[in-house]
């Protein structure tokens, strides 16, 4: 039975809405981010927008939600042409978007966040909102404590909160941008069940994703985008190979797992305790060998991030010893780590890895040895051009690094690495990348490992870890629960360890 309570409290609660996008163009200079996109979003259905990074999915959604203006084309709501020029207008039409990074106030409680945007007048009865929050939450199968501060929630829980908030605002079209990035499998199941219930209640749900499995598991209908155009459409049941072909043209070859040939110990942590993340890091010991690729698994904030930052010298441990090829690394900071041949690539590429406002050439100039007094622009430009060609970066040397797409930012970061680093630490190296880019990144990293670089990476995708890691260290609540070689690891064992289940033998 359809539960109409989910549609909200508005007087026209049974109103169903159809969105028609016709021949949408969006040009940024000479770049055609959207090149004649047409699609129909039917009420009560889950519509997938599938495509690799930079295919134009986000641009299209920005046009629909008023964050960007289309160059040409028309938007129709129930056959009436509308101009959605600002996010406020989108909100009037009850179009709501769940962004990749939830737009919430982390210092406030769950209930306060829920109330924001709904409240008017002076006196607010919190109880009313609390009841509403708990009821809708229960209907969708979410479990949220209204009094907890948002910064204590996981990304998945913050998404749930944001969905509840959008529903309370009578949102009829819910857009989700890569919602499964950084959330656990369990949370994903809860989310998908909730979304199906919403579609059942007459809402339109748009899932923007580059993950085939998500789209297949959830959507009724899929529009595939490639290079700013619609490259295909399909309704359930889906045909995986055909979807892949629509996404990529030709299928990218996955990295082949090669047998590890570990050498001497490159970096070792001995009984290290540190704060940070949700759980910190407690009494962690690990040894990473040359030429070895080690995956760090665990729910977000279980200690993998702190592990990488402590090892890189970016974070000072409370206790414990860090050694780099036998040398004490404690207290030398990132400079000591870098000097000895270490490198760290953070997950947030433009926030922490690259410098927005600096061009690609300036990044290469910055990356060179700090010997000379004057900058040698000619050499930097030459290097930039070489790396753009070698790493297949889509951008000119004079382009601002912030204007690159996620995949190209990661390529730029990789091209800035020294030729033969001893230790390479990566935080979610393929987060937000499409399959093609992710495979490219891994093939490149494997070349490093083959030359003897010790690679440690964290990932929220067990599949990725199983695909490339020679060894997996699983973190739960700040401690290492298991350290398991590739031939003993499978999805089930790792999944249980990640969730804090029994310790595999």
């Amino acid at each position: 039975m359809t539960d109409y309570r989910l549609i909200g409290r508005s007087p026209n609660r049974f109103y169903l809405m159809q969105i028609d996008l016709k021949n949408i163009h969006k040009h940024y200079g000479s770049i055609r981010a959207n090149d004649g996109i047409s699609l129909i979003i039917r009420p009560g259905s889950i519509h997938g927008i599938l495509g690799e990074n930079g295919a134009g999915k986000s641009t299209l959604m920005k046009i629909l939600t008023g964050f960007a203006r289309k160059t040409s084309g028309s938007t129709l709501i129930d056959d009436q042409p509308v101009d959605i020029d600002t996010p406020a207008i989108a909100a009037q039409y009850k179009i709501g978007m769940l962004h990749q990074e939830p737009l919430d106030f982390t210092a406030l409680s769950v209930l306060d966040n829920f109330m924001i945007g709904q409240i008017s007048g002076v006196y607010q009865k919190k109880e009313t909102y609390q009841v509403e929050l708990m009821e809708t939450s229960a209907q969708l199968g979410f479990e949220l404590d209204p009094d907890v501060q948002v910064h204590r929630l996981t990304v998945g829980e913050r998404q749930q909160l944001e969905i509840l908030r959008l529903l309370a605002l009578n949102t009829r079209v819910l857009i989700l941008d890569e919602p499964t990035t950084g959330i656990s499998r369990n949370q994903k199941d809860i989310l998908f069940t909730g979304l199906k219930a919403l579609a059942g209640a007459g809402k339109s749900v748009i899932l923007v994703s580059h993950k085939l499995e998500d789209v297949i598991a959830l959507c009724d209908e899929v529009t595939v985008m490639r290079q700013g155009k619609v490259s295909g459409r399909m309704t359930a049941p889906f045909h995986t190979d055909r979807l892949l072909k629509m996404m990529f043209g030709t299928l990218p070859s996955p990295p082949v797992h090669r047998p590890a040939n570990p050498g001497k110990v490159a970096i070792a942590l001995d009984q290290v305790t540190a704060t940070g993340g949700r759980a910190g890091l407690e009494n962690c010991s690990a040894m990473i060998h040359e030429g070895e690729i080690v995956g760090l698994a665990g729910l977000e904030g279980s200690g993998q991030g702190v592990f990488l930052r402590v090892a890189a010298g970016l974070k000072r441990p409370i206790r414990g010893k860090i050694t780099f090829k036998g040398e004490m690394l404690n207290g030398t900071g990132y400079y000591g780590f870098k000097k000895r041949g270490g490198a760290f690539i953070p997950a947030s590429r433009i926030e922490e890895g690259l410098i927005p406002g600096l061009t690609i050439t300036e990044h290469f100039c910055l990356n060179e040895k700090q010997g000379s007094f004057f900058t040698v622009w000619r050499a930097a430009l030459k290097r930039a051009k070489e790396c753009i060609a070698q790493f297949n970066i889509k951008g000119r040397p004079a382009i601002d690094a912030a204007a690159l797409s996620g995949g190209n930012q990661q390529r730029l970061l990789l091209s800035l690495l020294p030729l033969n680093p001893t230790v390479l630490l990566l935080e979610n190296p393929t987060r937000g990348l499409d399959l093609g880019s992710a495979h490219w990144v891994w093939r490149h990293l494997q070349e490093h490992a083959a030359r003897g670089t010790a690679i440690v990476f964290s990932s929220s995708e067990l599949d990725e870890i199983l695909m490339v890691a020679d060894r997996t260290i699983v973190f739960y609540n700040g401690t290492v629960v298991t350290d398991i070689p590739a031939h003993k690891a499978d999805a089930d064992t790792l999944g249980r360890a990640v969730a804090g289940g029994e310790r595999p033998q």
Partner: protein, 366 residues
């Protein structure tokens, strides 16, 4: 990726855009001051006429403007370093004062018998040191003590002012009297050489022009300039590039303090020929406005500095000629500052939305 219109043309457009921003800000300043003048009962266009004539009416008046332009430009050059790394060097005012104090101290300590050229050289060097040390203290409080540079700088300004007052009324008081008018005048041979007809100091002018040249070179063609920019734009990523933000912050502060100190030395040797309580003439604060209005662009700094200097000098005469209250000149400057800040905020907002548009236009993967 398809190539867009040639890089040359887009660069030209970019530069034109910057000039347009500044022009729009100046227009806003103009409208707002007109309003203030009107409200104060002064005929606005007569007032502008007198400001214009008072600043550019004769070569002598213009040389007065240049006299104000020199310290303003020196301070503005220094501020380009701190703004580049993202620091608000409000303490520049105190750094000018300490430059003046150090220069005075050197000129007072028995250099009369030596050659004036050497005295000046040493005095300028001392002033650079004084300003740099004063700035470095604020920088050190920022990097080590986690004190925001605005509060540290403001505090240091009060301390510097206190030191000047103490020196004037205490150790350096004129024989017999201690007065607000300052210390005793230096002997003639320690007045900075100026062209007698124009009352213009070629040395001061050279210093300001050299500061502009050096700063252009430093910010554009040296690693230090690039590193400052990188740290200013993203200190966390700069660490990953092996840079130490703390060290560069101290360096930028020392540069700013050095230039400000030089401005202080010019005030002492070239303008007042003694130490007075208001030796900095608020040029430090004014230079903050100059740099912001110039949109942190060194090519616009001398132009905007000239505009401010002209306004500063020209409005001195207003109370006398137009029979308006003497506080009006101050009100005009205050209005200027407000308008510049508002214009700056507006540009910042525009720039942010531009950056957003830029990142939206991410180059699609082929």
């Amino acid at each position: 990726m398809t190539s867009s219109s040639g890089p040359g043309s887009s660069k030209t457009r970019h530069i034109l855009g910057r000039f347009r921003q500044t022009a729009v800000s100046l227009l806003a300043v103009f409208i707002f001051t007109t309003l203030v003048l009107y409200l104060a009962g002064a005929p606005p266009f007569a007032a502008y006429y007198h400001i214009f004539m008072g600043s550019l009416g004769s070569w002598i008046k213009f040389s007065h403007v240049i006299k104000a332009w020199i310290p303003l430009t020196l301070c503005a050059c220094g501020l380009l370093y701190t703004f580049r790394i993202g620091l608000w060097n409000i303490g520049i005012e105190g750094q000018v004062m300490m430059g003046a104090v150090f220069a005075t101290a050197l000129l007072r300590t028995g250099v009369e018998d030596g050659s004036p050229a050497i005295s000046f050289f040493l005095a300028f060097l001392a002033a650079i040191m004084g300003g740099a040390i004063w700035a470095a203290i604020a920088g050190w409080l920022k990097t080590r003590g986690n004190v925001h540079e605005i509060f540290a700088g403001l505090g240091m300004n009060f301390v510097a002012q206190g030191i000047i007052l103490w020196l004037i009324f205490g150790p350096w008081k004129r024989p017999g009297v201690a007065s607000m008018s300052g210390t005793e005048l230096f002997p003639d041979n320690l007045w900075l050489f100026y062209l007698p007809d124009l009352r213009l100091s070629p040395i001061g002018l050279t210093m300001a022009l050299a500061a502009l040249g050096v700063t252009t070179l430093m910010l554009r063609y040296t690693r230090i300039g690039l590193n400052l920019k990188a740290i200013g734009a993203n200190p966390r990523a700069a660490v990953l590039f092996g840079l130490k933000p703390g060290q560069y912050m101290l360096l930028a502060m020392a540069f700013a303090g050095g230039f400000a100190g030089l401005a202080g030395a010019f005030q002492v040797t070239g303008v007042y020929h003694r130490l007075i309580p208001s030796i900095s003439s608020n040029y430090g604060y004014l230079a903050l406005m100059v740099v912001m209005l110039a949109n942190f662009n060194i090519w616009l700094v001398p132009v905007v500095a000239l505009f401010f200097a002209g306004l500063n000098v020209g409005s001195i005469q207003l109370p006398i000629v137009l029979q308006v209250d003497s506080s009006l000149a101050g009100v005009i400057q205050g209005a200027l500052v407000l308008t510049v800040l508002a214009a700056h905020g507006f540009h910042g907002w525009r720039k942010q939305s531009q950056i957003k548009t830029l990142s939206e236009g991410a180059v699609p993967n082929a």
